[in-house]
Structure formats: C-alpha cells, structure tokens
C-alpha cells in the first residue's frame, strides 16, 4: 500500500519553504523573489488559504478546487 504524505496548517510554511516558496499578502510567492506569485498550470495565482499542496510533474503547486485535487490524485496513482 502506498503511503499518503500530508501536512496540516501548522507545517504549511515548512513544506512551502522546502520548495523555495513562502507567503506574502495572502498568496504563495517565490521565497527568493517575494514579488513573484507562484502560478498553477492554469496560470492562476494561489491564495494561501487555497493552497492544497504540491504534486509531481516537475513541481506543481495545487489549489484546493476539485479539478486540481483530481489531478493530484492522478499524480499519486501514476
């Protein structure tokens, strides 16, 4: 059985930091360039409250909507 890797709100900053990101003005941004907001594959900015995690496919940041979560589940399956 595969192990599912999760985090809660208290470890969100740690996870973001591991991938060179942080938050500013309520959005996920590049740690090295905080003025640059991180985008989803659809080109959307990611409000921190909608940040749902990271998926494989190089490194893709995931929002908490159903379309993004199904793609994340597919990344976990493959």
């Amino acid at each position: 059985m595969n192990i599912r890797i999760t985090f809660d709100a208290s470890a969100r900053d740690f996870v973001l930091d591991a991938f060179g990101k942080t938050s500013r003005d309520g959005f996920v941004v590049e740690k090295a360039c905080p003025g640059e907001r991180v985008l989803t594959p659809r080109g959307e900015e990611i409000p921190l409250k909608e940040f749902a995690g990271i998926r494989r496919g190089s490194v893709i940041f995931v929002k908490s909507d159903i379309v993004s979560l199904i793609e994340a589940a597919k990344a976990m399956e493959s």
């Binding site: 999760t6 985090f7 208290s10 591991a18 998926r55 199904i70 793609e71 994340a72 493959s78």
Partner: protein
Amino acid sequence: MKNLWEAFKAIGINLPKLKDITVLKFSSLIHVDNSIKIEGSTVILNPERLSGKQKRALKHLLRAEVLPEAGAILDENSNPIIGEALDVLPAIEETAKKFRSIIPAKDIPLLNACLFLRARFQAGVSVEDLKGQIVRVYGARGRNFANLCTAGYLEEWFWPLYEELLRAYPDDPREAAGKFRTLYNSILNDLPWTEFVSSRASATTVTDHIEEKMRRNTEMGVRYLNVHGLGEANVRKVLKLLPDIQKQTGAVVARLDQDTTRVFVRLEIPPGALPE
C-alpha cells in the same frame, strides 16, 4: 516506500516500520519529547522538533525523494476528496482514455473532474459544491460539461458522433477529429439541443430559455430539445413547468423518463406548429 523510510533513517529520522501505517503527516502541533508520534494509521513528524541540520536535510528529502515517490504532498483537509478520487480513478480512467485523444488538451482535467462528479452523483452523494468549484475554474463551459457528463452524453452522444465522423472520413481520421472538435466546442459552449434546468433559475427564466432555444433550433431545422433535471428539486421543477412549456412552444412530449433524482424530457415541435 520502503526505500523512503531508509532515506529518512539516513538523515537521522527513524520512522516506525509498522504495517498498518498509511499516512505520514507533517505537523508542528504534537507536543512530545521526540519529533515522532503515531495516531492510528498515521505517523506524525514534527519538523520543528528536529535539529537545524535535520530540517535542512528533510527539506531536501521532500524535494528529491518524497514528492517523486509519493506523487503529491497534500494538505490533510484534502484527504477526504483525495481518498474518494483514488477509489474511483480506475473506473474514471476507462472512460477518460477514450476521450483524451479527441478533446482539447485543456479540457482533460475538466473531463477527469466531471467523471468524478458523475461517480459521486451516481452514488447518491450531493455534488452541488463540487460542481460550483468546476464552474469557478471553467465558467459556463465547465457547467455545461458537468451537466452533459452526468446526463450520459459523453458515451451516448459525443462518442457515437465521433465514430460517425470516422466512418464519414475513413481515410482521414485527422479531418474527422477536427470536425468532431468543432461540433464539440459548439455544443459545449451553447448546448443548442439541450437544456439543463437549474435550481437557481426562476420558472419564468427556465420557460423563456427553453422557448428561445426551441425557436432557434426550429429555424435551423432542428425540431427537438432535450430537457434534463438532475436532483430531486430539479425533477419537481421540470414536471411542474412542462405544461406551460408545451403551451408556449407548441411542443409535444415525445419521451419522458424519470425517477426521483433525474428526469429526461424530449420535446418535439410537430410540423406546422412553429413557435412565433
């Protein structure tokens, strides 16, 4: 995943090798002397309890091994949906793989999400919130796709259409695929031959909308409209509005299928009964 446990061990983090562990969770909310705690089938790791060197090593491990191995690192609030999705993905995949090569690439995540939505609907679980999320991402096109998918149009209408086009262009499958996409986009954007009754639309709006579509279709030589109601409230609404719709459009009910959660009505305009 065994190798992953070894990778943790290599940076001084000894995760318990228990058979029934299914989740590794990062949380700073555990208050124990060491950095690891087990709760049921979850092993919790508190990164704040690690040394600076271990934290740096763990961050590297997340990038280099955990994400590639696990496929995703997700907020625990996503767990219920992710769990459901993992359960139904094999069934979804059967349908998705047929359509993946013939619909635009940008619609493939939409296709997957709508097939998940349909699986939920068929299991009798509410889908309104999830459909709202699809609409927020894809707009009216997303709503139309979700409705068409839930009502079975993918297999019963789009796929036969594609097969028909393949037969029409036996030596040129690219031409068939191109013509399919043109029709697909038109149907998805406008739903010309179909009306999905929304619980939020007023009775007048629904009736006017159906009348307008039937008038437009008749002008194009199409003398029918399929009306769907998905969900108990919409079933009641369609059945209540049907007499008024018939009176205003001159249409007759050529087919009516219903149960408590869905209703399908095929309205047809008899020759000589053109709407004004």
